[in-house]
Subunit: 240 residues, 2 copies
């Protein structure tokens, strides 16, 4: 492993890997905050917070590009092997997951601005619960990456089921609101998409966990993880 | 560049890169077909074709894993530089886009099974049109990858706007159907999500084009591509 102590431009290989880890952890923190704030903006009907979330997304996109460029530089100059190589590939994949999470949070924020102008429907507790669950999974997945912890990664990977349960509940609830009163349709449709965004954020947290497990262990988790999103098959009937 | 003619196990480096290109092209063909068949299944209310699409998704997932494993092997054994290195990273990224496209097609197929059991609403021409547009972009993006054609990639990257226009039209149309008759709500909701899936497939085709451009040229396209998806801000009012 090349060590170039004292070289302030190229830095040592270890230092580069540490810096890469820090960049991904920082990006994870930003993504978590975006998910949190987008949901708070929705629940509190706070359009100015939603606008902040939308504005902050560019910083996440920028970090993804920096991480990819940095990874390609390490690959080209260090010829990393085995676990280091897998870690660098993992960092690129995870930064892409985080970029997507940022996009979902931004999209939720956009929709929450429309919803704040519509009549309020029902309680949005399900959204807060979903957001908390996916943020927790996201945090644990990023911690697993930072600590090379394959067991922790596997626990996150298996923990997505409650997220899907809350999502299925919201899906049916929103369809019921729509059927009760057509004036609910615009808000309920946007809420459905926000719920879907949160569910996708949960999937990305799971993907991050899978990637971390592979980076540390060098083998893949089984194909079929516990998965309870049945909403693609959902049918809700209007009350007669 | 190491050449190992006659070595039937390790193969030459050039041959490995050619094989990688073939794998991605094959995966692109499968993804295109899934998008096509999922949409045909929807429009013809053909649940048995939809079930085929769902079953075929595993082959796409499998190809993504094979491509990643193969890329990591090339990175570890060949220490590729410059354009070759960028191409290998691009192949991994594109195979991930194609895997996601496969997931969206599978999800659309699942929803089309539910829709086939609901009362038919309106014409689904917009869906066929959207599917054709995204398939065309996807095909051009994969061709650009196979031919190292940065100009073709840039054309695809700029061509996503009509997809977004059709999507915005469908979004408003579905909300109107819901408001007219609550019995339309289940089908229209699933149709909304299918339209969103097709729109996301279009985004992935654009992402592939961006990745190809970067792989060939080594620099990124501008941040803001032409983008007309305004549906996150859409409001539709029930008729009084």
């Amino acid at each position: 492993m090349p060590m170039e102590q004292g070289d302030h431009i190229v830095r040592s290989y270890d230092e580069q890997l540490r810096r890469l880890r820090d960049m991904v952890a920082r990006m994870g923190g930003l993504a978590e905050r975006q998910v949190n704030d987008a949901t708070v903006a929705l629940v509190r009907r706070d359009a100015s917070l939603a606008t902040e979330v939308i504005g902050r997304d560019a910083a996440i996109d920028q970090l993804e590009r920096e991480i990819e460029t940095f990874c390609i530089r390490i690959l080209a100059t260090r010829q990393p092997m085995a676990m280091d190589l897998r870690f660098i590939i993992a960092a690129m994949k995870v930064s892409h997951n985080l970029e997507r999470i940022g996009d979902y949070a931004r999209n939720a924020a956009k929709r929450s601005i429309v919803i704040a102008q519509q009549p309020a429907i029902g309680s949005l507790n399900g959204f807060s619960r979903m957001a908390l669950l996916v943020q927790e999974n996201l945090k644990l997945a990023i911690d697993a990456l930072v600590n090379d912890d394959a067991e922790a990664a596997q626990r996150v990977w298996a923990a997505d089921e409650p997220v899907d349960d809350v999502y299925n509940g919201i899906f049916r609830e929103m369809l019921t609101f729509m059927m009760e009163d057509p004036r609910n349709i615009t808000a309920a449709t946007h809420l459905l998409f926000i719920a879907k965004n949160l569910e996708r954020i949960g999937d990305h947290a799971t993907n991050i966990a899978e990637t971390v497990h592979y980076a540390v262990r060098g083998d893949s988790l089984p194909d079929d993880r516990p998965k309870a999103d049945a909403s693609a098959y959902a049918v809700v009937r209007p009350r007669e």
